[in-house]
């Protein structure tokens, strides 16, 4: 069955360089540096990436960072808490706009 997302396409990620190599090289070099141990550990960065993968709803990223967090020694509880952080920010972002809705309501109401 044809779908918009094909799990095998994740393995072809580096192929984006076939159409535009200099920018792809810069991106992959930057990407590699971002995930290196720094002020944050590789483990912390992987959990952040897992949470963001859910927030941006990227199935490739979810697959990749589910395995990556496991390979960084995270357990299921930590991984699900990271997803809840993403969910809380997304739902919070929706709800805080409720204030704007309230403001506008008040503005146009008698």
């Amino acid at each position: 069955m044809k779908t918009y997302y094909n799990p095998d396409d994740l393995k072809k990620f580096s192929k984006i360089g076939d159409f535009q190599k200099p920018l792809a090289d810069k991106f992959f070099s930057y990407y590699g540096d971002v995930f290196k141990e720094g002020a944050l550990s590789e483990r912390e960065k992987s959990l952040i990436a897992l949470a963001v993968s859910h927030a941006v709803q990227c199935p490739y990223c979810i697959d990749a960072y589910t395995v990556d967090t496991l390979e960084k020694g995270c357990d299921e509880e930590e991984m699900m808490e990271a997803v809840h952080v993403a969910a809380a920010i997304r739902s919070g972002a929706t709800l805080v706009h409720g204030v704007q809705m309230m403001n506008k309501t008040k503005e146009v109401s008698m």
Partner: protein
């Protein structure tokens, strides 16, 4: 749960396992392990000095772990005889071996286990026992094992896949985590893993699924923090070991449709530095029946050492011919060379 052998599962047949391992190369475009060694000028792989004499004392075990590369369990009756153990002592005495590494199954279930440990200790060897922990609490006759280990300065290496019961039990069986914690406390009580003793207690982590282990150093800190906080348990080092795609773990990979993904991951993570330091270069592995192998994994695939047929048994053990041999490699060897590498002592690089 029964062993694959008892179930007559097709994965208990080593020729089928080798067929599956070869399938990835023939039909899926994966490279041969030997080709990767050639790239690093490591083929044929040759031994260095023989340091470690690893003995599989039998396939009998009180546990049936989901990933077990030995396919061990209570229904396995293969046990090394005293005669073969005596031959092992002779081989150790006439070699440069410094470490005797006892594995199984549960090596403690071999009726000659204690006698053999004492004899090996008398020869001046460091004795390592790969203890599954639960054996200590399995039966009253094993309750004094911590004291016995202490008397013979045995180094303990024990599997504990995780500091949570859920993950440990999913891999090693229901209730294994609680029993393991109880056994670890008993080992700590006689001084194992404690800061002011020379009694070594190392733990082994291996992934509960189709993924690679984390960095050993970071994971060790995590295990130490958690086990001390939650259970007041102490240990020396944590070995992070990669699951090798053979036996029950191979069966799991194929059944869960993770086999090709896992093999690709191993191949893509191939590290020539790790290949140079693989454990088969300084180890000989002896099967329960006295047959010699390059490592425990080759043993389970029945890939005997590549020497003259009569020299393939411990009764005709000759260091010289073993030192000149070429180590037999196959696609499962990618498991020892992925990332930081993997051996019975954890990371290689």
């Amino acid at each position: 749960m029964k062993s694959l052998h008892k179930q007559k599962n097709r994965f208990s047949d080593v020729s089928y396992q080798l067929e599956v391992l070869n399938e990835g190369v023939e039909n899926q475009g994966l490279p041969h392990f030997s080709d990767k060694l050639k790239e690093a000028n490591l083929f044929p792989l040759k031994p260095t000095q023989l340091d470690i004499f690893q003995i599989n004392m039998g396939k009998m075990c009180n546990q049936v772990c989901a990933h077990c590369h030995v396919d061990a369990g209570p229904d396995r009756k293969e046990i090394m005889t005293k005669e073969t153990l005596q031959l092992c002592l002779g081989a150790i005495e006439n070699s440069s071996v410094k470490t005797v590494d006892l594995t199984g199954g549960a090596p403690e279930m071999n009726p000659h286990f204690r006698w053999f440990v004492r004899e090996a200790y008398k020869l001046g060897c460091k004795v390592i026992v790969r203890c599954n922990l639960t054996i200590i609490v399995a039966n009253k006759k094993y309750h004094d094992l911590p004291e016995f280990y202490r008397e013979n300065k045995v180094e303990i290496v024990s599997s504990l896949p995780h500091y949570s019961s859920k993950k440990t039990d999913s891999q090693r069986g229901d209730g294994v985590f609680d029993k393991s914690i109880k056994a670890l406390k008993m080992l700590n009580e006689v001084g194992y893993g404690m800061p002011d003793t020379d009694l070594t207690l190392n733990l082994v982590y291996n992934p509960s699924g189709a993924f690679l282990p984390p960095s050993q150093e970071g994971l060790e800190k995590q295990f130490k923090r958690k086990l001390e906080k939650d259970f007041d348990i102490h240990f020396n080092s944590l070995f992070a070991i990669t699951n090798i795609p053979i036996s029950r773990y191979l069966e799991y990979l194929v059944a869960s449709e993770n086999y090709m993904g896992y093999m690709e991951k191993l191949v893509n993570s191939y590290n020539p530095m790790a290949a140079a330091g693989v454990m088969c270069r300084n180890t000989i592995s002896v099967g329960w029946d006295g047959v010699l192998y390059d490592c425990d994994f080759n043993q389970m695939l029945e890939l005997k050492v590549a020497v003259q047929e009569r020299r393939q048994h411990v009764k005709n053990f000759q260091v010289d011919s073993l030192t000149k041999r070429s180590i037999r490699v196959n696609e499962h060897c990618f498991g020892c060379t992925a990332g930081s590498g993997s051996s019975c002592g954890g990371e290689i690089t």
